[in-house]
C-alpha cells in the first residue's frame, strides 16, 4: 500500500539570556559542575522563582518572527514528575495558556513553497544533567548530578503536523534555526544542545484524512540525525503496517551509533504530569504597546533578506538561500556588499572559498578573522589587476589564518602582480631561449605549445606575472622570430 508520511516537530531552543529564567545564576556553558547554582535553581526548601523579564521578551520576539499571536494573558504551570535531574520534582512550564500561538514558517523545497504551522511557543526551564557511572541510569552503579543547566531558559516551539518528508523537516529546521539566530534570542546550535528537536511521525494510507498512530522520537541533536531518524521510522512503521500490525503510540529514543530508534516509554506511562498553575508566579500580562515595541525591534528576517538579495542584488536563488541560512554569513555578505558592488563575485567567494575553509576547519562562522572590509579590499585588488585571481586565493588563505589586511600580505610576501612590460620581456626572452622545441612546435601550428610557454613564465615569476601581459608579450616575441 502507498503511505503518506505525516511529521510534526517539537523544537527546544535555549535562550541566550545572561541569567537563568527564575534566578540570577549565569547561563554560561562549561564551568565546573554545580558552580552556576544557587538556592533558587537548586529548589532548596523555601526558595521562590522570580521571572527573568528577558525570557519573556525573547519568547515574544521568537513568536513575532514566526508570525504568532502573542497572548495578552498567559501563565506558568507546574509539570510534576520525579527525576534526579529535576530539583523541585516539577518543571515550571506553560500548559494551556502559552505565550505564543497560531504562527507559521515559510519553507521552500523541490515541491515548491509551503507554510508550516506553528501551533504554539511556550517558555520553560531546563533540567540539570546526570552523569551515569555506568552506561544508563538503570545499569549504573551511581550517578552524579550537575545542576548548572537547571533553570536555563528554554522555549519549546511546537509545529503543526504539516510536514510530509525529511526534506520538508530539514527545510523547516533550517529556516527555524535561521529565524532564531536572526532575532538574536539564541545561538541555536544543535551540536551544543542549544537547539534540540523531537520528531512526531506517523503514516496513513495515501488519501486518508485521519492521522495514523504516531511515535515521538526525542532529543535529536543534529540535522543528520533528524534525516536518518525520519528514514528509519518510515521504514519501521511501514514494515509494521505492511505486516498487518499496529504502530504503538510511544516515545522513542535514537541510537546514533546503531542507527535505530528504541522504545523509551509508552504514552500511557508518561501522560500523568498533574499540570496545575504555579502558585508561586503571577500571571503574565502583556500589553499591545510592549508587543509593538518588540515587533519594531526585530531585525530583517531571513525570508525578507533572501528576497532582497535576489531582487536587488541579482543573486541566484540558490546563493541567496545558502547565505541567508546563517545570520553570520548574511551579515558578512552585507558587510562586504557595503564596500563592494559586484554581488555575484562576493557570493562566489563566500560560497566557494570561505565556506570551504570554515567547513574544513570545522569552526563557527563567528570565529572567522576576516573582516568584511578586508574581503572587499581583496576583491578590489583583483579588479584593479594588482593581483591575479590565483594570488588572491593565496592572500585569502593568509587572511583567513591571520586576519591581516590583504594589502599588507601582498606587500610582505611580494605578491604584487607584475604588469611591467620591461620586467616581463626579459622573462619571456629567457623562457623562449630555454625551450626551442616548444617554439618549433608553435611555429609548426601546435598552439598548445603557447600554453606551455606561458606556464613556464608564470612559474618563473612565482605566479606574479600578469597573464594578459605575458600572453601579449609572448605572442609578439614568437611572431617576431
Amino acid at each position: 500500500m502507498e503511505y503518506e508520511v505525516v511529521i510534526g516537530c517539537e523544537v527546544h531552543v535555549e535562550l541566550k539570556t545572561k541569567t537563568k529564567i527564575f534566578c540570577s545564576c549565569p547561563t554560561d556553558f562549561g564551568g565546573e559542575p554545580n558552580t552556576h547554582v544557587c538556592p533558587v535553581c537548586l529548589g532548596l526548601p523555601g526558595t521562590l522563582p522570580v521571572l527573568n523579564k528577558k525570557v519573556l521578551e525573547y519568547a515574544i520576539k521568537a513568536g513575532l518572527a514566526m508570525n504568532c499571536e502573542i497572548a495578552h494573558f498567559s501563565k506558568f504551570d507546574r509539570k510534576n514528575y520525579f527525576y534526579p535531574d529535576l530539583t523541585k520534582a516539577y518543571q515550571i512550564s506553560q500548559f494551556d495558556l502559552p505565550i505564543c500561538k497560531n504562527g507559521y514558517i515559510d519553507i521552500e523545497t523541490s515541491e515548491g513553497k509551503k507554510k508550516i504551522g506553528i501551533t504554539r511557543i511556550h517558555m520553560e526551564e531546563d533540567a540539570g544533567k546526570l552523569v551515569h557511572q555506568g552506561a544508563t541510569i538503570t545499569t549504573s552503579a551511581g550517578s552524579l548530578a550537575d545542576y548548572n543547566r537547571a533553570g536555563v531558559p528554554l522555549i519549546e516551539i511546537v509545529s503543526e503536523p504539516d510536514m510530509r518528508s525529511a526534506e520538508d523537516v530539514l527545510a523547516f529546521l533550517t529556516n527555524l534555526k535561521a529565524i532564531i539566530e536572526y532575532t538574536g534570542v539564541s545561538d541555536a546550535r544543535m551540536e551544543q544542545g542549544s537547539l534540540r528537536c523531537d520528531v512526531n511521525l506517523s503514516l496513513r494510507p495515501a488519501g486518508q484524512k485521519e492521522f495514523g498512530t504516531r511515535a515521538e522520537i526525542k532529543n535529536l541533536n543534529s540535522f543528520r540525525a533528524v534525516e536518518r531518524v525520519i528514514k528509519y521510522e518510515i521504514d519501521r512503521q511501514t514494515d509494521i503496517l505492511e505486516s498487518g500490525g499496529k504502530v504503538v503510540q510511544e516515545t522513542r529514543t535514537w541510537d546514533d551509533g546503531k542507527g535505530m530508534t528504541f522504545s523509551l516509554r509508552s504514552k500511557e506511562d508518561s501522560d500523568e504530569y498533574r499540570y496545575f498553575p504555579d502558585p508561586d508566579l503571577t500571571p503574565i500580562i502583556v500589553t499591545d504597546a510592549y508587543i509593538e515595541e518588540l515587533r519594531a525591534s526585530l531585525p530583517e528576517l531571513p525570508q525578507v533578506k533572501r528576497a532582497r538579495m535576489i531582487e536587488e542584488d541579482g543573486l541566484p536563488e540558490y546563493d541567496a538561500g545558502v547565505i541567508t541560512a546563517s545570520k553570520a554569513l548574511a551579515d558578512f555578505y552585507d558587510g562586504v556588499r557595503a564596500h563592494y558592488d559586484d554581488a555575484k563575485k562576493i557570493s562566489n567567494w563566500i560560497m566557494v572559498e570561505l565556506l570551504a575553509k570554515v567547513n574544513a576547519e570545522g569552526m563557527e562562522l563567528e570565529a572567522v578573522k576576516i573582516q568584511p572590509e578586508q574581503m572587499a579590499a581583496l576583491l578590489k585588488l583583483v579588479d584593479s589587476g594588482d593581483i591575479s585571481g590565483k594570488i588572491a586565493k593565496k592572500v585569502f588563505a593568509e587572511m583567513f589564518a591571520t586576519g591581516k589586511d590583504p594589502a599588507d600580505i601582498i606587500k610582505e610576501q611580494g605578491l604584487v602582480q607584475i604588469s611591467d612590460e620591461d620586467a616581463l620581456k626579459e622573462m619571456v626572452s629567457h623562457v623562449v631561449e630555454a625551450n626551442p622545441k616548444s617554439v618549433e612546435d608553435y611555429k609548426a601550428g601546435k598552439t598548445k605549445a603557447m600554453g606551455f610557454l606561458v606556464g613556464q613564465i608564470m612559474k618563473q615569476s612565482r605566479g606574479q606575472a600578469n597573464p594578459a601581459v605575458i600572453n601579449k608579450l609572448l605572442a609578439e616575441k614568437l611572431d617576431s622570430m
Partner: protein, 488 residues
C-alpha cells in the same frame, strides 16, 4: 522571674530607660525555657548562644546612646518552617532533620535588621499539616493552660511558647488557620495578614497560594509592632504585594465609633460550642456598646470552604513536597535503584498526615479528576471571595469564632475529618487571601481560653487591630494568663 510576663512595648520602655539590659532579659527567658520547656515542649532548637550574642549587641547600642527599634533586644521564637541561615530548619519532619539552610527567610532578615533576639525554633505539625502539633515527627507540644490539651496547630510551638512566657512573641505561618487556631487555644493574639503582605521567601511551602506568615503576641499593640517590622514588598517573592504599608500602631485608637461590623450567621449555631458562641456574641455586643454598628449577615458559600480547601491545599502540597526525594539534601534512604530511593526516602521521611495529604492532592490533580476536583475547588474559591467582596461593601470587619471549640484534648485526634473541622472558621479567609485576627475573649466552662476572630478585606489589618484594641482596652477578657499553672 517577672520580666518574661511583659509585652514588647513594656519591655522596650524598660530597655530604653536602662532599668533592664537585653542580656538580663534574654537570660531570664533562656532560664525559663530550661526550667519549663521540658514540660511544654515548644522548642525544637534553642539557640542560646546566638540569642545572648544578639542581646549583647543591643546592650552595646544602648550603652553607646543609640536609638533602638521597638523589637530590638526582645526575645522571640520562630516556627521551624522558616529558614534560618546555619540553624537547623526541620519543618518538624524526619525528612529535614539536620537540614541547615544557607539563607534566611526574608521575615527573619527583616527582624534581624530590627536587632531581634532569637531564642530558637519552635515545634509545629509536620510541614504545617495539622491542627494539634501532634503531627510533629519529634514530640507533641502541650497547652500551657492544661497539660491534657493540645496547643492547637500547626503553629502550636509558636503559640505555646508565648502563652507560657517562653518567648515574648513568635512568628507562625497560617495556611488554613495555623496561626489563629493555636492562638485561640492558648489565649494569645494571632494574626494572619493579607496574602502577599509578608514575604514567603524562606518559608518552607505547604500550599503556596494560601501560606502566610504572621505574628503571635501577648496583646494587640505587640501585634501591630511586629506587623510594622515584617510586612513589605519583597522582590524575591513574586506574590508579594507592592503596597504602601501603613504604621499599624496608628490604628490603636480605642475608638470604634461608626465601625460597621458583620456577624455572619453561618459561623454560629450548629457545630459551634455554646460557650464559644456566647463569647463571640458578647464581643460583638461590647463593640456595639462602644459605638460600632453590629448586625447579622450571611456568607452563603462558607460551607463549601472546607471541601475546597482540602482539594487546593493538598494539591499544592503534593507538588511542593515532591522535592524531598533524597537526592540533594535531607533524609536519603538507601535503595537498589533510583525509584526505590525515592519511594523509601518518602516512606521513611514523611509522617502519616503528610502522606495522606500528598495522596489527596495527587489524586485531585490527576488527569480525569482535575476538572471535577481541583478546577471545581478553584471555582468555589472564587465564589467565597465574591461572598466576602459583597460583605465588605457593607462592613469594615466581620466577627466570628476563631475555632468551633476551645483546645482539644490530647491523644484522641485520630479521625482526620473530625480534626479538619477545627479549621472551619479560619479556612475561608485563607481562600480569599484576606486578613484574620484571633483575639482571646474570656474562657469556657473549663477555664480554657476562647478566641474570637476579626476578619476584613485585603489590607484591612488596621480595621481589625482597631476593633481588637478597643475590646482589649475596654474589657479584662483579652489579656489572659494560664494562672492555674495546670499546663506548666
Amino acid at each position: 522571674m517577672t520580666l518574661s510576663r511583659l509585652t514588647i512595648h513594656e519591655l522596650h520602655d524598660l530597655l530604653v530607660s536602662k532599668e533592664i539590659s537585653a542580656t538580663e532579659l534574654v537570660q531570664e527567658h533562656l532560664d525559663r525555657i530550661q526550667a519549663l520547656d521540658g514540660n511544654v515542649k515548644s522548642y525544637i532548637t534553642v539557640t542560646g548562644d546566638l540569642a545572648r550574642k544578639q542581646a549583647k549587641a543591643v546592650d552595646a547600642k544602648l550603652a553607646a546612646g543609640e536609638t533602638i527599634g521597638m523589637l530590638a533586644g526582645i526575645p522571640m521564637a520562630v516556627k521551624d518552617n522558616m529558614c534560618t541561615e546555619g540553624i537547623p530548619t526541620t519543618c518538624a519532619s524526619r525528612m529535614l532533620e539536620g537540614f541547615k539552610p544557607q539563607y534566611s527567610a526574608t521575615v527573619v532578615e527583616k527582624l534581624k535588621a530590627e536587632d531581634f533576639v532569637m531564642l530558637g525554633k519552635v515545634n509545629m505539625d509536620e510541614f504545617a499539616m495539622g491542627s494539634t502539633t501532634e503531627n510533629s515527627a519529634f514530640f507533641a507540644t502541650q497547652n500551657p493552660w492544661n497539660a491534657d490539651c493540645v496547643p492547637g496547630g500547626s503553629s502550636g510551638g509558636s503559640a505555646a511558647s508565648v502563652a507560657a512566657d517562653l518567648a515574648v512573641y513568635s512568628l507562625g505561618s497560617d495556611t488554613g488557620g495555623s496561626i489563629r487556631q493555636p492562638a485561640s487555644f492558648c489565649g494569645i493574639v494571632g494574626l494572619k495578614p493579607t496574602y502577599g503582605a509578608v514575604s514567603r521567601f524562606g518559608l518552607i511551602a505547604f500550599a503556596s497560594s494560601l501560606d502566610q506568615i504572621g505574628p503571635l503576641a501577648k496583646d494587640v499593640t505587640d501585634t501591630a509592632l511586629i506587623l510594622n517590622a515584617i510586612t513589605g514588598y519583597d522582590k524575591k517573592d513574586s506574590t508579594s504585594a507592592d503596597y504602601n504599608y501603613p504604621d499599624y500602631t496608628a490604628a490603636l485608637t480605642g475608638d470604634v465609633k461608626g465601625m460597621r461590623i458583620g456577624l455572619p450567621k453561618e459561623y454560629l449555631g450548629e457545630g459551634i460550642d455554646p460557650d464559644v458562641e456566647a463569647q463571640v456574641r458578647a464581643a460583638a455586643a461590647k463593640l456595639e456598646e462602644l459605638g460600632a454598628h453590629v448586625e447579622e449577615c450571611s456568607l452563603p458559600y462558607t460551607r463549601y470552604a472546607m471541601p475546597a480547601y482540602y482539594l487546593i491545599a493538598p494539591a499544592e502540597a503534593s507538588s511542593n513536597l515532591g522535592r524531598y526525594d533524597g537526592v540533594r539534601y535531607g533524609l536519603r534512604a538507601p535503595a537498589e535503584d533510583v525509584a526505590g530511593m525515592f519511594c523509601d526516602t518518602r516512606k521513611k521521611g514523611f509522617g502519616p498526615e503528610v502522606k495522606r495529604r500528598i495522596m489527596l492532592g495527587t489524586y485531585a490533580l490527576s488527569s480525569g479528576y482535575y476538572d471535577a476536583y481541583y478546577l471545581k475547588a478553584l471555582k468555589v474559591r472564587n465564589l467565597i471571595k465574591q461572598d466576602y467582596d459583597r460583605a465588605f461593601e457593607q462592613y469594615d470587619c466581620l466577627i466570628t469564632p476563631t475555632a468551633p471549640t476551645t483546645a482539644l484534648r490530647k491523644g484522641n485526634n485520630q479521625d482526620p475529618l473530625a480534626l479538619y473541622k477545627s479549621d472551619i472558621c479560619t479556612i475561608p479567609t485563607n481562600l480569599a487571601g484576606i486578613p484574620g485576627l484571633s483575639l482571646p475573649y474570656g474562657t469556657d466552662r473549663n477555664g480554657m481560653p476562647i478566641g474570637v476572630q476579626l476578619s476584613g478585606k485585603a489590607f484591612a489589618e488596621p480595621a481589625l487591630l482597631r476593633a481588637a484594641y478597643a475590646l482589649e482596652q475596654n474589657t479584662n477578657l483579652t489579656r489572659l494568663k494560664p494562672n492555674q499553672g495546670k499546663g506548666l
